[in-house]
């Protein structure tokens, strides 16, 4: 281990530093520098540890920071070592995560699978001293992230609940689902539209086809399409996302086929508008004001346009049913719509409409899992009061 200040310096240290260093007394260098692979990563990191310089908080007490250097060659001149980071003074033991980039084209590329060495410099106002080399360390990627074990356990428990209740439902046990007023109102709303001879406007929101809220909305759309086909009521589905458009077209067509009226399906009933948020609002609001639909159904992902749509719908006197998992938009829907599905009720809507045992099983599993989560929260509260360290260890809270 080098305990004296070094005359050579890395490329990023100015020559003025060297001159000053010759006049000032350098601090004692850090000791026990060690390096090891950074756990739970993709092979782009090394954890460097060292003990404080004797002049950090004691002795000459002149250390202001530490600089961490890396090299692939342990015997390379110090000027060739690469500065990787800086750590402020003030502790007895230090840890620095040297994390680089995965791609070889990146300037910050981290060499993988080869030995790397570290040295740490204790820096004073006008001078510095450098430790000896750390042990050789190799960055390697891992195949399991241990910090996510808690998540895995909870996911597996949920899978267990789901499979159990699907099995129970398959055996024919009746599972109770509380009534959802918004979904029960769908039939009434379609009937109203039929009596008035007005169309139904179905908005799938601004989400993409991969959003769960949109997927849940497809299920309800299928049911609504079947009903409107039976009642021969027109339906309008203006879409924001082209992928959602293709799925919505298929869903509505299938609804008409299931109702035994495939020929009644009109190509122009499901259509793309635009992917610009407020242009979409303008188009849909225009449709509302011109067509005066009897019923507006908003189910899916909504953002700032929620109130613009729902208020216009309220002005036109339509029955309005809404549902979203965007918490910020829920109050707007609640005040402007007749019925609102709050959060998870949107996901439950398809189950409520289908009443298939397998789907009912998943819904029941959700309910029981919620009870389980409430239990875990209660245990967490107690644990926080009586055994905080244990709780931190279990949930990887830092």
């Amino acid at each position: 281990m080098l305990t004296a200040s070094v005359s050579a310096q890395p490329a990023n240290t100015s020559s003025a530093d060297t001159t000053a260093q010759m006049q000032a007394i350098p601090p004692a260098p850090p000791v026990n520098v060690s390096a090891k692979d950074r756990p739970n990563d993709n092979g782009t990191g090394i954890v460097v540890k060292w003990d404080a310089s004797p002049d950090d908080g004691a002795g000459r007490n002149n250390v202001v920071m530490y600089k961490v250097y890396r090299s692939l060659k342990p015997d390379a001149p110090f000027k060739d070592w690469v500065l990787r980071g800086q750590v402020p003074f003030g502790k007895r033991q230090y840890t620095y995560d040297d994390v680089g980039a995965r791609d070889k084209d990146s300037k910050d590329y981290f060499p993988k699978g080869v030995d790397v060495y570290y040295r740490v410099a204790a820096v004073a106002a006008d001078t510095f001293s450098v430790s000896g080399n750390s042990n050789a360390a190799v960055a390697s990627d891992e195949w399991y992230n241990t910090t996510r074990t808690t998540v895995l356990v909870f996911v597996l428990v949920f899978f267990g609940f789901t499979l159990y209740f699907i099995n129970v439902a398959k055996k024919g046990k009746t599972l109770y689902v509380r009534p959802l007023a918004g979904i029960e109102a769908v039939d009434e709303a379609i009937g109203r539209a039929t009596e008035m001879g007005k169309p139904i406007l179905y908005i799938l929101g601004l989400g993409s086809a991969s959003d769960i809220a949109t997927i849940a909305s497809f299920s309800v759309l299928g049911r609504v399409a079947k009903k409107v086909a039976e009642y021969q009521t027109p339906i309008l589905v203006p879409c924001y996302d082209p992928i959602v458009l293709t799925v919505a077209e298929e869903t509505v067509k299938t609804g008409y086929s299931d109702a035994g009226r495939p020929d009644d399906y009109k190509d122009d009933s499901v259509y793309f508008v635009t992917q610009s948020q407020f242009a979409y609002v303008a188009a849909v609001n225009g449709t509302m004001l011109r067509e005066r639909p009897a019923t507006n159904i908003y189910l899916g992902k909504f953002y700032a346009e929620s109130l613009l749509l729902a208020e216009t719908g309220a002005v036109t006197g339509s029955i309005q049913i809404s549902g979203t998992d965007e918490i910020a938009q829920l109050p707007f829907f609640v005040v402007a719509c007749d019925y609102t599905l709050i959060g998870e009720e949107l996901y439950a809507a398809s189950v409520y409409l289908n009443r298939e045992p397998i789907l009912m099983g998943t819904l029941k599993a959700q309910d029981y899992y919620k009870a389980f989560v409430i239990g875990v929260i209660a245990l967490g509260l107690i644990g926080r009061m009586f055994a905080p360290d244990l709780l931190q260890a279990i949930f990887n809270i830092h």
Binding site: W143, A209, F218, P242, A282, G286, L308, A336
Partner: protein, 346 residues
């Protein structure tokens, strides 16, 4: 088979996505990025379907003489025009011409600024020229020369000028002006602040040289020389249609929200039941914290903090937990093939 293959794809992709969340290795990361790239590619293809849908619906409305045919015609005209304007016609773009015009303006302002500063030093009474000493004029001229050199660099990297233009007389005249500025600035060093005659002579030189520079800048191509269709997405019409039509209309739509919030709030706060009365009171307290009413505001602020952090947050978290579980359950149903609505069938 037509349904099994998509279901199998969904199952394999879904299980992979679950597994990769727990696998930090570079391989899992790359595979994840690869799959995400595919969603972008599919999205681009789907956009073509979307545009086709828009064109088809609009065309049908026009063809059948639908009462809304006028809106469809405007939509199709807008779509067609923007596509046309977006084509890459050869030539300099409007945006680039704007950049050059801005550079020209800056150069002219540097030249005229230096000229005026030199003139002020001569014609102002001695007591008012302290801030315009000969050495400060020297600094002004040197800085103007450096600044002009910087703006001229924009000309050199721009397609606005051809190689011949760059080597032509106008640009050379501008650069000569800066050299002369530097030459005159060195002469200011040897002039006494009280030597009015010498100062007037130098100011005259600065004025003469500046005028030559300004004339040279004026002779460069103008913004009006740009052909309005050149430059693809940076052409004159594309930029103006988007910036001056699309964006203001979007802003207008968004601003309507303020009025809608007011009307929705009026409906929500009508105290028709116990719950709506509680809502009204809570809203009143939250709004009262913004009123400049001293102790009342302080009290309302504390109460607002409590309302937001206790009952409001508790309700929000309940919804968030429910949504989270709902998402996991629905995802599981999709991966296992129980939920198939995304395929157009339950």
């Amino acid at each position: 088979m037509r349904r099994q293959i998509p279901l199998l794809l969904v199952f394999v992709s879904g299980v992979f996505m679950v597994i990769q969340y727990f696998v930090p290795s570079a391989f899992a990361e790359r595979a994840y990025e690869f799959l995400i790239d595919w969603t972008i590619i599919i999205g681009i293809f789907a956009l073509a379907l979307g545009i086709w849908s828009l064109v088809r619906v609009s065309y049908n409305k026009i063809r059948t003489g639908h009462p809304d045919a006028m809106y469809s015609a405007i939509t199709l005209a807008g779509l067609g025009l923007m596509i046309f304007f977006g084509f890459e016609f050869p030539g300099v773009s409007y945006k680039e011409a704007m950049r050059v015009t801005q550079a020209k303006d800056y150069i002219q302002s540097e030249f005229s600024g230096a000229r005026d500063a030199a003139a002020r030093r001569v014609f102002l009474p001695e007591s008012e020229t302290l801030s315009l000493r000969p050495d400060s004029i020297k600094t002004i001229l040197t800085m103007a020369a450096d600044s002009v050199a910087h703006w001229v660099d924009i000309f050199k990297t721009s397609h606005w000028f051809s190689g011949a233009d760059l080597e032509g007389t106008n640009l050379a005249a501008i650069m000569t002006t800066t050299e002369q500025f530097k030459s005159i600035s060195s002469q200011y060093t040897s002039v006494s602040p009280s030597d009015s005659m010498a100062l007037a002579g130098l100011a005259g030189r600065v004025s003469e040289v500046s005028q030559q520079g300004i004339a040279a800048v004026d002779s460069l191509k103008n913004l009006s020389d740009v052909y309005p269709l050149t430059g693809g997405l940076e052409n004159y019409w594309f930029i103006h249609f988007f910036d001056d039509v699309m964006i203001p209309i979007q802003a207008t739509m968004f601003s309507l929200l303020a009025f809608f919030i007011a009307s929705a709030a009026y409906r929500a706060f009508r105290a028709r039941s116990l719950l709506s009365t509680v809502l009204l009171l809570a809203a009143f307290i939250v709004m009262a914290r913004l009123l400049p009413m001293g102790p009342v505001t302080i009290g309302a602020n504390k109460l607002t903090q409590w309302i937001l952090l206790v009952p409001n947050l508790a309700a929000k978290r309940a919804i968030v937990i429910g949504v989270g579980l709902g998402i996991v359950a629905t995802s599981l149903k999709v991966v296992l093939g129980i939920e198939r609505s995304y395929m157009g069938r339950d």
